[in-house]
């Protein structure tokens, strides 16, 4: 049951915002990887992953996100997350994503603090 993610890249205050539309599952891997490679090609040092607040994120999606985190660590990039529901804030904290990416309450808050 493949799904499609639409991911828009936007640069704001030297931060590349990856605006991820749709659910995040194992099927998201090519979309997230392509978007990350495009962001990386821009020479960005800061990346913000912006999710739909209603997005369903399962273990396959978590694995894909962690692979993106691994690439940002390798490329010494700062990464942040915003837009996720309280439930997924808890989940991201449980699995340890928050050791590598800070979660911000809003896009504005993320842009201000990551600048």
């Amino acid at each position: 049951m493949p799904e499609v993610n639409e991911i828009k890249l936007e640069t704001r205050d030297a931060i590349t915002v990856m605006d991820i539309r749709g659910d995040v599952t194992a099927f998201s891997e090519p979309f997230l990887n392509d978007a990350y490679q495009s962001a990386n090609a821009r020479g960005t040092g800061k990346i913000l992953l912006k999710f739909d607040s209603t997005a369903y994120i399962n273990s396959g999606g978590i694995a894909v996100l962690i692979q993106v985190l691994a690439q940002t660590q390798k490329n010494k990039q700062l990464i942040g997350i915003t837009g996720i529901s309280d439930h997924f804030k808890k989940i991201f904290n449980m699995v340890g994503i928050t050791k590598f990416a800070k979660i911000y309450e809003s896009l504005e808050d993320a842009l201000k603090q990551m600048a």
Partner: protein, 143 residues
């Protein structure tokens, strides 16, 4: 809570394809809402039902397209009991907890998150191996 819900079994079967776990999630959420489970615990219930269903599809049934996954739910002793059964012989135990530092440093593969979340979010988890070798993951969430 409607008294007639006690010990009534809700059972659905899913095609063995990732994505259909959402049907089980929606059913579990509706059932839990009828029982008055707190909204944050309904989200936990949805996650454990989804992850156990995906685990059954991929690891129990080994992605076999002809297999099914059965999800049953019941209120008993002030807890929601969920059982997720596969038709395969794919696993006998859950994977160990993932170590995110090792995964980010590409020392471990990025696996084990689903079963980790089940263990973290459910009040009780048991894996039962049936006589014919299939698996039933039994999970409990207290009201």
């Amino acid at each position: 809570m409607p008294p007639h819900l006690e010990e009534q079994i809700i059972e659905i079967t899913l095609p063995n394809q990732v994505g259909y776990e959402r049907i089980a999630m929606a059913s579990a959420a509706t059932f839990a809402k009828m029982l008055g489970l707190a909204p944050e615990r309904i989200e936990d219930l949805k996650t454990i039902v989804a992850e156990a269903s995906i685990n059954a599809m991929q690891h129990g049934n080994k992605d076999r397209p002809d297999a099914r996954v059965s999800v049953s739910m019941m209120l008993k002793s002030n807890s929601i009991h969920v059982a997720v059964a596969d038709q395969g012989k794919g696993f006998s135990t859950f994977l160990p907890d993932p170590n995110i530092e090792r995964i980010v440093n590409e020392l471990d593969p990025p696996v084990g998150f689903g079963t980790f979340l089940i263990r973290q979010l459910a009040d009780q988890v048991d894996i039962e191996k049936t006589a014919d070798g299939t698996n039933i993951v039994r999970m409990t969430i207290k009201l």
